[in-house]
């Protein structure tokens, strides 16, 4: 589904990704770990289409076509979703309204018809229940006054409603307590299927106990230096990253 080929990227002259290659097939869950500054969040932003970065070499192929020229909304409409590390707030825009707008934009791109508030409300309520969130949250302004944990759960809720094909989770576990972690993991796991893929970016192995990956990659200095299965994560937990940093 996704193939990143020898990607080189920099921002303001500083090289961040230096020849990153990665292949993710349908139905797979990949995890990326690595020390701070290795380029994990940069990778997430670039995949989502943030324009701050210069791609100096390489390509990103999604479903057979290069997406380098596509705008963020176009990529989203093709089924790419990013659960942000730091979700932003939009005062005055209710969660319910935002979710519906997002849903309708993507649904329309897939050939569907926009949903009216009542219809959408029904759909949203099921997912909200699953994520053990309160109904009242729909009326609150987007992420305004939310705790860190609530923001992360809101990201997963959006993911559950938008049903993307490729979901990128950027350090979703940071700031979550065990309970929240389990809820979030359940949410993600409920979306796992033969058609969907996940790229879970994380610092700590703990999340991977709940969202068990098929592959684990280690990112150091903008390149993947080692790949393995879930046991690699455990190895990193005990040894740290230094044995991989040349």
């Amino acid at each position: 589904m996704l193939e990143i080929i020898n990607l080189h990227a920099e921002v303001e002259g500083q090289k961040i990704l230096q020849g990153l290659s990665l292949k993710i097939n349908k139905g797979e869950v990949h995890s990326i770990m690595g020390p701070n500054g290795s380029g994990k969040s940069t990778l997430a932003s670039i995949l989502a289409g943030k324009e701050d970065y210069d791609i100096t070499d390489g390509d990103i192929i999604y479903n057979g076509e290069s997406i380098l020229e596509l705008a963020p909304d176009e990529r989203a409409q093709q089924g790419i979703f990013l659960a942000f590390q730091y979700p932003i707030e939009i005062p005055g825009v209710s969660n319910g309204y935002f979710l519906r707008e997002a849903f309708n934009s993507i649904n329309e791109a897939r050939g569907g018809k926009p949903l009216k508030p009542v219809q959408f409300g029904k759909l949203a309520k099921e997912k909200i229940k699953m994520l053990k969130m309160d109904d009242s949250f729909l009326q609150r302004s987007l992420n305004e006054g939310f705790s860190g944990g609530e923001k992360k759960r809101n990201e997963i809720l959006q993911m559950a409603i938008l049903e993307p094909l490729l979901s990128i989770l950027d350090e979703t576990d940071s700031g979550l307590d065990i309970d929240a972690l389990q809820i979030v993991a359940n949410g993600v796991n409920s979306l796992r299927s033969k058609e969907t893929s996940f790229l879970v970016i994380t610092h700590y192995q703990r999340l991977l106990d709940y969202i068990v990956p098929d592959f684990v990659h280690v990112l150091v200095d903008g390149r993947i230096v080692k790949s393995g299965d879930k046991d690699l994560a455990l190895e990193l937990e005990s040894k740290g990253y230094s044995w991989l940093e040349e």
């Binding site: 989502a48 005062p91 309204y97």
Partner: protein
Amino acid sequence: MIFLYKILLQIILETRASSRGGYQGMTEELKIDNDQATKEMLEKNEYKYGFVTDIEQEIIPKGISEEVINFISKKKKEPKWLLDFRLKAYDKWLKMKEPSWAKLNIEPIDYDGISYFAAPKEMPKSLDDIDPEIIDTYNKLGIPLEEQKQLEGIAVDVVFDSVSLVTTFKDKLAKLGIIFCSFSEAVENHEELVKKYLGRVIPSGDNYFAALNAAVFTDGSFVYIPKGVKCPMELSTYFRINAEDTGQFERTLIIAEEGSSVSYLEGCTAPKRSTSQLHAACVELIAFDDATIKYSTIQNWYPGDKDGKGGIYNFVTKRGNCVGKNSRISWTQVETGSSITWKYPSCILTGDNSVGEFYSVALTNNRQQADTGTKMIHLGKNTKSTIVSKGISAGHGQNIYRGLVEVSKNASNARNYTVCDSILIGENCGAHTFPYIEVKNTTAQLEHEATTSKVGEDQIFYCQQRGMSEEDALSLIVNGFCKEVFKELPFEFAVEAERLLSVSLEGSVG
């Protein structure tokens, strides 16, 4: 006399020739500013009302003088007292100086370079008589005049340049005792009412532009709601400036007798011109005991091009007097157009327990400047006022909020709640706030909140990542910001306002 007619003929012929080559809406090329990677300087501002209507009009020679005033008054067949009213105002105006305290950067106005009267040559007696070009104009503006197509539930008074062409549903309303007609018609058929109330809320000497208006006002709307009647329809006036080098000086008077209520909406557009046009209106509202007047404006005058050339100067005096106990006057405005806006819809809270409200969204983009706000004057006991001002600045726009909350010595238990928020889009715009509070009674309670924030690329990116286009994202963010004000608008117009904001913001993402 004959000399004057010869000149008129000449002017008419010349104007016909020049107005034939009307402007069409033009989309300008996208320009991408590489300095700020995140900021796309799209100055595309598709003002779709920029077209000109080509009809035969009578436009008097430019310049202001007693002669011009006499001409206007005579043309409208006004009684002597009204001519005197005008001449007294003109006299005052000559002695006054143009105000300069507003933080505005304006080219000096040439008062003699404007014509003070423009009207279609043939005044229509019924809808059938109206020049088809004009009917077409209003169709394009979304205000069908033809009987079958008239907007249900909204009575419209159509003002084209200096005259009111038609007022729909007038007879239906008359059966309830409601008078809704053009100001000129009110002078003709309801002289006593006009004489009683004209100038009571805004005396001619109040300010420079009010004096000018009192001298040369042409037409506007007149509304009278009798005791205990709740007006069953939205009343609306649609102003369209068409002729070149003319000013529009309308005068509106709304009177709500005891226990009555009315909701009134004012809409305005004007064609694209390369030189500026002056719009100096006066709106007076009077609410008696237990009466309510709701006055909403969606102002979309031509804002000028991206360099600030052309565009309407919108200098308006709007004031409501809550004369009666328990009366209420609400002003709701969405100002997206005009190149310079200068207005402070205000409420004088005379009656005990009266309520004044002001809800405003003011948008400035490209080179627009707006100095707008309100004055709430608390005179009676237990009076309440609410001010919600939302300013959106984009491009090189300058947005100024100027508000006054005044509590007089005898105004016990006055309450005011003011919230004044600004958002800035891009790096080159400005928002300034000048709140004035003058309290002379110790039982008053006033609350003031203000926030300023910038629409960040991060917010836009977040929305895009959820499938929304850049423009939809901005629209979402801005509409969320304006929600509190939009919900005060009559439903049909709330939708219009949201759309208008989206169009006006086109190309301002930063």
